[in-house]
């Protein structure tokens, strides 16, 4: 199991991460999630800039060879940037899930929305319980 869990970010129960910078939230999937796909990521489908996202609703898809994994919105808001690099070369998600493999940036409406996210320790507990 991959326990690479950076301390400076929030997590979801569905294995997304969220890095907050002022009102902008960068979103990706965790190293553990890419391990579950045996790092064989062959497609990423993301919304376009300007899309309004609702918390916990699906915002995109990551495909391994075997199966599709839905991506869930960690905080509501408008998509302000999409990582074109992961659309062009989905393998980046597995090689650098927390850095170059980020997927979208969302303009957050309220810091209150971060409350439902998991702290690194909680996420560590979650993946231990899934093993």
């Amino acid at each position: 199991m991959n326990l690479d869990i950076p301390e400076d970010i929030f997590y979801t129960r569905t294995h997304e991460w969220a890095r907050v910078h002022n009102d902008e939230v960068t979103v990706g999937i965790t190293a553990y999630a890419t391990d579950q796909m045996n790092k064989e990521i062959v497609n990423v489908d993301l919304p376009t800039v300007g899309t309004q996202l609702t918390q916990n609703a699906g915002f995109g898809v990551v495909d391994s060879v075997k199966a599709a994994f839905d991506l869930y919105t960690p905080v509501p808001g408008e998509v302000v940037e999409v990582n074109q690099q992961v659309l062009d070369d989905p393998a980046i998600v597995a090689s650098s899930p927390f850095q170059e493999g980020w997927m979208i940036k969302i303009r957050m409406q309220s810091a209150e929305d971060l409350k439902s996210l998991l702290a690194p320790d909680d996420y560590r507990e979650l993946i231990k319980s899934e093993e």
Binding site: N38, K39, E40, V42, N43, D45, G58, G60, V61, D63, S64, V65, K66, A67, A68, D70, L87
Partner: protein, 366 residues
């Protein structure tokens, strides 16, 4: 509640760090290293498959040919000794109970079923045995089954058998010595590559598996899990029971009418198949490729403009074509090669095109 089943190679798989997955009541390797690597090994060198989970039913007795001709759609009477054919077991409505291969030996026939249908087919046979003088035997646990597939399969297998494999034609089999075991060796498979399936006393399974891997390593032979088995068969447009074939689809709709012999004597499903072969089919199994980077999956809706015209029955990323491919039943009007369709993924339409089957055809070897 049925207990989870394991083949005798399960310990080997776990010791070799296979990722294990549930499959039709069995726990089997999904992959050992990666689906893509194993897929490419079979396309370019060779792969070895543990198929001990497959159902195998041995039918003996003097009425075996008559009985199997009644139970299956293909003509086993016209099949030569030492030959294999593909056939369907249908219900009276012409729906598919299972798709099988049938081996015709001198004094018995071997029916190879899908794992999920082992018990179904066995009881279906018993149920229809009637006055036929046949002996129906579950050979699934007594026989081991392995498959070696890929362009190097013949040269690797030839090192452990005296039988002249070069003379063995597609869908022929011989009973011969393979290493220390007496085995049925058929030139058959489910990958779109040249290859062989082997049946032998179950006791030899692990030694034969290890022997083949040992002598084949220098030629790139690797063990292959169910993940690549699925991508390989789908590229070759070989249908999978449970996905592309079910009790509510007929072999005619699946485009496999050549395995139905409507001119032979009575068989289960004949009347329904005769009548539907005389009328227009409402749906057909079609193969399609995505026109963007998205990947179709089983169950996704297929549309033409705003109308639902079918569902995806199998879908995957094709390691050979590097794009999403799939099959599904679509309304007759939209099944023509070149037709534009839409696959609905997370509520969004993605463009796809019906293509001529199969996606992958191997270049002729030897």
């Amino acid at each position: 509640m049925v207990a989870i089943r394991h083949t005798s190679l399960y310990t080997w798989h776990v010791e070799h760090r296979a990722k294990i997955t549930a499959f039709s009541g069995w726990e089997m390797p999904l992959y050992y290293t990666s689906i893509t690597a194993e897929h490419q090994a079979v396309r370019n060198q060779a792969g070895l498959f543990d198929l001990c989970y497959m159902g195998r039913i041995r039918v003996k007795g003097k009425d075996r040919i008559k009985f199997l001709n009644y139970m299956t759609t293909n003509d086993i009477e016209g099949l030569g000794i030492g030959k294999v054919h593909y056939a369907f077991i249908c219900n009276p409505q012409g729906g598919i109970i299972d798709d099988v291969t049938v081996y015709k030996a001198e004094d018995y026939c071997l029916v190879v079923t899908n794992a999920v249908n082992r018990d179904t087919v066995l009881s279906w046979f018993h149920q229809h045995q009637g006055k036929h003088a046949v002996d129906i035997e579950d050979a699934g646990f007594g026989l081991g089954m392995l498959s070696i597939q890929g362009p190097k399969a013949q040269s690797i297998l030839q090192r452990v058998t005296q039988a002249p494999l070069n003379d063995l034609n597609y869908y022929d089999f011989v009973i011969t010595q393979v290493s220390h075991a007496e085995a049925i060796v058929s030139r058959t498979g489910y990958t779109g590559e040249d290859g062989f399936e082997l049946y032998f006393g179950a006791l030899y399974t692990t030694t034969l598996w290890e022997k083949l891997l040992h002598i084949g390593t220098s030629d790139g032979l690797v063990p292959v899990g169910l993940g690549a088995r699925d991508t390989l068969r789908l590229e070759a447009c070989m249908p999978l029971f449970g996905n592309d074939l079910t009790s509510s689809t007929t072999p005619l709709e699946a485009g496999l009418s050549k395995f139905i012999k409507l001119d032979k004597k009575a068989f289960i499903g004949k009347e329904a198949l005769v009548s539907s072969s005389n009328s227009e089919l409402s749906k057909r199994l079609a193969a399609f490729q995505m026109l963007d980077r998205s990947i179709p999956r089983q169950g996704y809706e297929i549309r033409h403009q705003d109308n639902t015209i079918g569902n995806v029955t199998s879908g995957t990323f094709s390691p050979t074509l590097q794009k999403g491919i799939g099959m599904g039943y679509v309304h007759n009007l939209h099944s023509k090669v070149g037709s534009s369709i839409l696959i609905m993924i997370q509520g969004k339409p993605h463009p796809a095109e019906i293509i001529k089957r199969p996606f992958y055809k191997r270049r002729h070897t030897e």
